[in-house]
Symmetry: C2
Subunit: 399 residues, 2 copies
């Protein structure tokens, strides 16, 4: 598997996109891009997942329906306004956007996925958005992927993208993706968006299965602050250019997994106020759900997040986070805990360890917390970040 750091999502053949500033992100000095599209006219299939939050933004209703048709050919995404909790007007705005984009691209509204991220409870300036769309889609076959990656950012500090390729059955297969992480600009909700493309030819149903599995292992195992957004959305297109690799499903799955995991880790590392990526590796569990729940419990624990921020090898808090999960077959006396590969706890009591060396490891930008439950064969990995005063600042004094 090769990672191509300089390539954009639009470097996959048949994938187009661009972004501009249409004036949704207000402020006199603000000339940040806030509107973008991804256009895959020849897409053979498109799969996706949306938030489970019961307060869903209008765009989520529209896009979920579009995913079900399997015929999405384009994504229209704006930042700066989430168009959420705006009553009937919000639904109208989505309808209008989808209709306009469909006309400009010679498609039907149900071929268009819509996403909005930013401030909530404020009417979306849909006129600005529509005139932005007119310029943007006047010549849609453009390849400005970096503009798209930038246009979906809110308070993200760095753009998040991935481009990987691998030979499968003698053919080069590519998977590329972009994502945005959580950001508050005003009374707002954390929002995660991710868009991926592969040139492998994958039929609709299989693509949905593979993508759901990848999302479960990546975005669903990542958390900045335990709060589930109302607008989360992840989509993947198949351009269908590389045929005949579907029979090598495992390798293709691996490639899609890797792209999703890379984006998930980029989001966690750039979590609000974060200085470190925390990776919780759980092995030896009695079931997959136990392994996943314990890995999530570790990266969600504020006591672990603060301890790691302070570079303290606090295995007691890790034990607490393991124990608070409602698992069926945990044997506390068998559990082993390690930091950066150094075992610190086993047989129900702490081990002698080189504290200075582990503290040095905990000061790195990536901290691995390892847990071996020693009761089964299941494993899981989750990603989070440390909890810092930066998070408090961003979310206390944002208005």
């Amino acid at each position: 598997m090769r990672k191509l750091a300089d390539k954009e999502i639009t470097d996959i053949s048949g994938v187009y996109g661009a972004g501009l500033c249409c004036g949704i992100k207000t402020g006199a000095t603000n000339v940040k891009r806030d509107l973008a599209f991804v256009y895959v006219p020849e897409a053979v299939s498109c799969a996706g997942v949306v938030t489970t939050n019961k307060f869903r933004a209008p765009c989520i209703y529209h896009t979920e329906k579009a995913i079900r048709t399997g015929q999405i050919k384009a994504i229209i995404v704006n930042s700066g306004n989430a168009n959420a909790a705006t009553g009937e007007k919000g639904f109208e705005a989505v309808k209008q956007t989808a209709k306009m984009a469909a006309e400009l691209l010679n498609l039907q509204p149900e071929n268009i996925a819509i996403a909005s991220t930013g401030i909530i409870g404020v009417a979306l300036p849909v006129d600005r958005l529509c005139s932005g769309l007119e310029s943007l889609l006047a010549n849609p076959k453009t390849n400005f992927g970096e503009q798209v990656t930038e246009a979906i950012m809110t308070t993200d500090l760095v753009p998040k993208k991935i481009f990987i390729e691998k030979e499968i059955a003698g053919k080069l297969v590519q998977v590329a993706g972009i994502a945005k992480g959580s950001g508050m600009i005003s009374p707002n909700m954390a929002t995660m968006l991710a868009y991926l493309v592969t040139d492998a030819e994958v039929p609709q149903e299989l693509l949905q299965t593979m993508f759901s599995e990848a999302v479960d292992r990546s975005f669903n195992m990542m958390s900045v602050d335990t709060d589930t957004s109302t607008s989360d959305m992840a989509l993947i297109f198949s351009t269908g250019k590389v045929s005949g690799v579907v029979n090598y499903g495992d390798q293709l799955q691996e490639l899609i997994d890797e792209a999703c995991v890379s984006l998930a880790k980029q989001i966690a590392r750039d979590g609000e106020g974060a200085t470190k990526l925390i990776e919780a590796q759980v092995i030896g569990a009695n079931s997959l759900s136990d392994a996943r729940a314990i890995a999530k419990s570790i990266i969600d624990s504020p006591l672990i997040k603060t301890a790691i921020h302070g570079a303290d090898p606090n295995w007691g808090r890790v034990a607490m986070a393991i124990g608070k999960v409602n698992t069926a077959n945990l044997d506390a006396a068998r559990v082993e805990i390690s930091f950066a590969g150094h075992k610190v706890f086993a047989d129900g009591k702490p081990l002698e360890f080189n504290r200075e060396q582990i503290i040095k490891e905990l000061k790195q930008e990536t901290v691995v917390v390892g847990v071996d439950l020693r009761v089964g064969e299941f494993s899981a990995i989750a990603w989070g970040c440390d909890l810092t005063k930066g998070y408090i600042d961003i979310n206390t004094d944002y208005s």
Copy 2:
């Protein structure tokens, strides 16, 4: 119902207790009390609940067994050392403590509840504890309740106690209690302890039922940081002095509920780094479990905790926290949200509201977040606190 602010737990007839410094809390200048007992020799019953964390301190195993016998007559509690994750030695220490206390009080070890709170993974200095016990229990019929309340504190800023009384069936019934909240002194876990006494005569099984219900409505609806301790414990004694009130179960339940809720609120208000008590009141739910889950989701959300710390009426984050709960019958369009009694969100969109006035209310020491789901008749209340830089300080730089 009358609240008597100056009374201690040992002001209930037949309840004894005292505390001293036996040297478990180390440090040259440290002369804080770290060992205490509560002794109710004529207790007719004792009920209790312990943590659900699977990593349980040895004292929890012992005390759970003692609760099952229904014959607890005394509690021995130390602070400064949790005697948790110390292997076989930890279990030995509990055995030794229970044996010694039983001998000094002329009881059996299973009549003694044991609790430890403080640093984990460090051997309990059981010799110091035992010589402390010898002095403390030489004359056990003492009434120094304030010493007990102080001796169980770790990093709590204020002692937590309650003393209420009410006439039931023409007889004065009293319920008194003490508690400690979450505190980190070194690599450690948050710990909650609560001990209550009533003079009402309540048989064992009924007392357990009533107390479990009260705990469910109070301590189980309170959270400082979502992390479940390995040593949580709550116990209640009945001295049996006031007979004939059991038939007025509702009124007695109300009194026990009130005592538990008061202690739970005191713990939440004194949460690490907290400046405010947050009370989430959920009504109109379709089931009790929905109401409870949504109330807990609100007080657990770091985005709500930080917003309220900044005195911002961020109803969007409240909507997010409601929506992220896996409820069966939520209708987002019916939900109403209020701050301090002022409705800010209804019919799927924000209402016009006096922002300045609500900000003023949010700057108070207690903030009430109200939610009406408008789909049923169930309600629940949960208590939490704001998330501040103080919490980060306490839990990042504690060693």
